[in-house]
């Protein structure tokens, strides 16, 4: 006789509830601000006006910013692609000594926020005050600096230094996962190594190279920090810096908001095109040849070039990572900016001051840490819910959510910042402007993409039958989520947490548009102190930020290792 019998009474629409909640989150935090930008860009006094959009766009200042964004992004993309692909090839396909160590070394630039890097390079290579230029001029007795960092080349070079890992990671992955039999069969057919590389290898990894390149393009177009530190002094604005400048100098006047929304619209459209292109490239059929398995690929013997190339790699890392970092810590220890680095000029006094006494920096550290924590926790939970609906649930209306879920990936930070200003400045009943909450709202929108990606990946791993099994064992949907799904996606949630917390800790692009005197983040404090001429304090704070980032990264590595075990 069976004791398990059928129980009547059906549950209420849990699925619909979750779906609605998910849609609401994405609409409120992401879609609505973006819509407000588009609305403000195209509607003047409540009526559609594309002529005015065109007028703003062709305004010399705006147009110059657009061109600059394009020039810098193009140079950065080309440079990063060459550097990233070359190093990726070196550490996967040659017999370079200490390959694995070098591979992890090339990921270090990711840890260094590019605006802190830019700050260091400003101190090294600004035309007259930079340490390298000064040394060069006194050594050769000229007044011509060795290199002027305040140029398109300088800005792009700095961006390349800290962005090339985007391409590096993608290409490394593709080269490692490429089935070596494809190359071997070409070799058996009599093709030489050059022919194989040209006809087999490059076409196969081209999608990865392109996809990495597009990521960099998108990042650079919308990148604030480097251009703000190195460009503004010489009048080089790109789209985000001009938006910032406009909003800031006029304290939110109508005309400046309009210029901002027009520029932001251009960014959104560009981003959409880039994301679309990337999806198209990645979904092309022959990419499938690169599988998930790891193989031992063919290696090129470098022979006599082995050690010189290793030296070159080390020199590259030394020049782009070690040198700027050392400069940051040294300058941060100086009593006054401009003094030579001698023992009597250096002390830990600045560090002690900014950590224990100086309110601006103390507030900034507190703000950044608490904002990072709050944004990470909220976005992690929202992300797991939304991903769950997208990946697992079969409900009507899911299509809307899938579309909305794509949005966070294609909305750059400065656009989000402008959007939340429009949405949360009291026009719609709630005024968060000048509070720390407006930054939190913007962070949630900005980092939703990271959370969605990490959680979706984790959820894909959880087979549907695991949840169905628990349902058939008598668990309701909520119980199944709690007992089965959540424990199994925990690694994804933890990685989402860190993927949000760390970038939020060093964030500049969004918070610079939204800060008030008491709501500076670490990034904003570094930037504004530097602007105000408080170079040593700014640099000391940058040093502290670097230490925080390294600690955080070490924690992540430790954690993700534990999870994968």
């Amino acid at each position: 006789m069976s004791s398990a019998t059928i129980k009547k009474d059906s549950g209420f629409g849990v699925a619909q509830l979750i779906l609605l909640l998910s849609i609401a989150i994405l609409v409120i935090f992401v879609a609505w601000p973006v819509l407000l930008i588009l609305f403000n860009a195209f509607f003047v006094d409540g009526s559609f006006n594309s002529l005015d959009f065109y007028r703003v766009l062709t305004d010399p200042e705006t147009f110059q910013a657009l061109t600059n964004s394009l020039i810098i992004a193009s140079m950065t993309t080309v440079g990063s692609t060459i550097v990233g692909t070359f190093f990726a090839w070196l550490v996967t396909r040659t017999d370079l000594p200490y390959k694995n160590f070098m591979k992890s070394l090339f990921l270090v630039p990711f840890m260094l926020p590019s605006f802190i890097g830019a700050l260091a390079w400003k101190m090294l290579l600004s035309p007259h005050a930079g340490y390298i230029n000064k040394a060069f001029m006194s050594l050769f007795g000229t007044t011509e600096p060795l290199f002027n960092i305040y140029t398109y080349y300088g800005i792009s070079a700095v961006e390349v230094m800290y962005l090339f890992p985007f391409v590096f990671i993608q290409v490394c992955g593709a080269l490692e996962r490429m089935d070596p039999t494809l190359e071997e069969s070409a070799r058996i057919s009599g093709a030489g190594l050059l022919t194989i590389t040209r006809k087999i290898t490059i076409p196969l990894v081209l999608p990865s190279i392109m996809s990495g390149a597009l990521l960099i393009m998108l990042y650079s177009m919308a990148h604030f920090g480097t251009v703000a530190v190195l460009g503004i002094e010489q009048g080089i604005y790109n789209i985000p810096t001009l938006i910032y400048e406009k909003i800031h100098e006029s304290a939110g006047s109508f005309e400046s908001i309009r210029t901002g929304t027009v520029l932001a619209t251009v960014l959104v459209v560009t981003a959409a095109i880039i994301i679309w292109g990337q999806q198209k490239i990645l979904s092309r059929g022959h990419y499938q040849i690169i599988g998930g398995k790891s193989f031992r690929p063919m290696e090129l013997k470098l022979r006599g070039l082995r050690w010189p190339l290793l030296l070159f790699c080390l020199a590259y890392i030394g020049f782009t990572i070690v040198l700027p970092t050392v400069v940051i810590f040294l300058v941060g220890g100086l009593n006054t900016y401009g003094l030579p680095f001698t023992w009597e000029n250096l002390s830990l006094a600045n560090y002690k001051y900014i950590l224990t006494e100086y309110d601006v920096t103390k507030d900034a550290i507190f703000n950044s840490v608490s904002l990072g924590l709050a944004a990470a926790v909220i976005t992690m939970f929202a992300g797991v819910m939304i991903s769950y609906v997208i990946v697992k649930m079969k409900v009507r209306g899911k299509g809307i959510l899938e579309f909305l879920g794509m949005l966070p990936f294609s909305v750059p930070g400065s656009v989000i910042a402008l959007g939340v200003i429009l949405a949360w400045s009291g026009k719609f009943g709630i005024n968060l402007y000048n509070t720390v909450w407006i930054i939190l709202v913007a962070y949630i929108a900005r980092y939703m993409a990271f959370s969605l990606r990490a959680n979706s990946a984790a959820l894909e791993q959880v087979h549907d039958s695991l949840m169905e099994a628990s349902r058939s064992c008598g668990a309701t949907m909520w119980q199944s989520l709690k007992d089965i799904v959540i424990p199994l996606v925990k690694p994804g949630m933890i990685s989402a947490f860190f993927l949000i917390f760390l970038p939020a800790l060093r964030e500049l692009t969004v918070s610079i548009m939204l800060y008030a005197p008491t709501t500076r983040t670490i990034g904003v404090a570094i930037y504004t102190l530097n602007e105000d001429g408080e170079t040593v304090m700014s640099t000391a704070l940058a040093g502290v930020a670097l230490i925080l980032i390294v600690i955080g990264q070490t924690l992540i590595n430790h954690f993700t290792k534990k999870v994968s075990e």
Partner: protein, 365 residues
């Protein structure tokens, strides 16, 4: 006998693909019922509909005289209230729970007292032969052991019906054979109703009280005992699906039936029921009797293969081809070791008539 599961006019489509159309099915209390069909025929969908993981587009499903899904009234009882045990093809053992935790879960959901849970789980672990492995995580178990955990979990709450969705297809051949007898033994011991879904006719024949044969379009071609299905196939599809088969084309002239293009009559007492001109006779390699004396159809050995314990012959009769096998030591002792090119005579132990049009319909399986 009383029906415990009843499907009436159930339809299910995914997009444009109509998987099930007007499916009627009834499963009797206490029997082991197998749905057998090629992959993609909709048998898994049927199980998912019964379990409540899918909702039918139209039709009605009843379990234990309770309507669990009815498109006309919109009634739907979610999986957790259907009181079923289910075993999935990929086991679906929860990787973050130990063997004990996995098996205890259905009882915990019923909020049984802890002492009772412990007792039942312990007994169940012993029943499926997993003693000493109770603290292990699924990642520390073999495929067969994981499947035992899945079985135990499906049985522990004493469900009225257990659904098994190709539970053995991920196991190796030896284990598969062992497990199928264990499943049968468990079913008889617990007196539980089992709905078993598979594409493997051997398993189906071994464990079922009744079998339903489903074709690629989700239609049930025949329902019956294993003997009926194997020996009295309702149509060519069923016959073909149940094992390797030979087909000879036959043409009718008056009331005579000739093989292929030749003038030899089919050596079988009964002709087909029907008036078609073109027929097909179907038989299994084991139903062929081969000999040297002039009895039955005369043919030529086209290929002779010695396979150790058996001899395998390919024979041509008036342009038609067939395969047969016989035990090697019988072939040797009875002088039936043919060479290629030799003449032979064949008769049949069993034979089925099919309309030639049906063969085209069914096509290649």
């Amino acid at each position: 006998m009383q029906d415990i599961i009843k499907l009436e006019g159930v339809c299910k489509a995914y997009g444009d693909h109509q998987v099930l159309k007007d499916l009627d099915l009834s499963i009797r209390k206490g029997e082991c019922f197998t749905m057998l069909g090629p992959s993609g025929c909709g048998k898994t969908v049927t199980i998912r509909l019964i379990a409540g993981h899918e909702v039918p587009d139209s039709g009605k499903i009843e379990i234990d005289d309770t309507v669990v899904a009815d498109s006309s009234t919109g009634a739907y009882i979610p999986p957790e209230r259907r009181g079923l045990g289910i075993v999935f093809q990929d086991y679906a053992v929860w990787p973050h729970m130990t063997v004990t935790q996995n098996i205890a879960y259905p009882l915990k959901m019923e909020k049984r007292p802890k002492a009772e849970i412990d007792k039942l789980v312990k007994a169940m672990i012993a029943t499926v032969g997993m003693e000493g492995l109770d603290k292990r995580l699924p990642s520390e178990l073999s495929g067969g052991q994981q499947q035992r955990v899945a079985l135990a979990r499906a049985l522990v709450a004493d469900p009225s019906v257990m659904l098994l969705d190709e539970p053995l297809s991920n196991l190796d051949a030896n284990l598969r054979e062992e497990m199928r007898f264990e499943i049968k033994a468990l079913q008889q011991r617990f007196g539980i109703t089992v709905l078993y879904v598979t594409h493997d006719q051997e398993v189906a024949l071994a464990i079922s009280d009744r079998i339903a044969i489903m074709d690629a379009n989700g239609r049930i071609r025949q329902t019956g005992t294993p003997y009926e299905i194997f020996e009295k196939p309702a149509d060519l599809f069923v016959f073909k699906f149940m094992g390797i088969a030979n087909f000879l084309a036959v043409r009718s002239e008056g009331d005579k039936y000739y093989v292929g293009t030749g003038t030899q009559e089919v050596p079988w007492p009964e002709g087909p029921a029907g008036t078609a001109e073109k027929w097909v006779v179907g038989f299994r390699p084991s139903d062929v009797e081969i000999g040297r004396e002039a009895k039955g159809l005369k043919g030529v050995i086209k290929r002779a293969n010695f396979l150790g314990s058996t001899m395998d012959y390919a024979i041509e009769i008036d342009g038609e081809h067939l395969r047969t096998e016989l035990v090697a030591h019988k072939a040797i002792s009875q002088d039936l070791m043919f060479q290629e090119g030799e003449e032979c005579y064949i008769t049949f132990k069993a034979l089925h008539w099919f309309d030639a049009k049906q063969l085209e319909e069914v096509g290649e399986l």
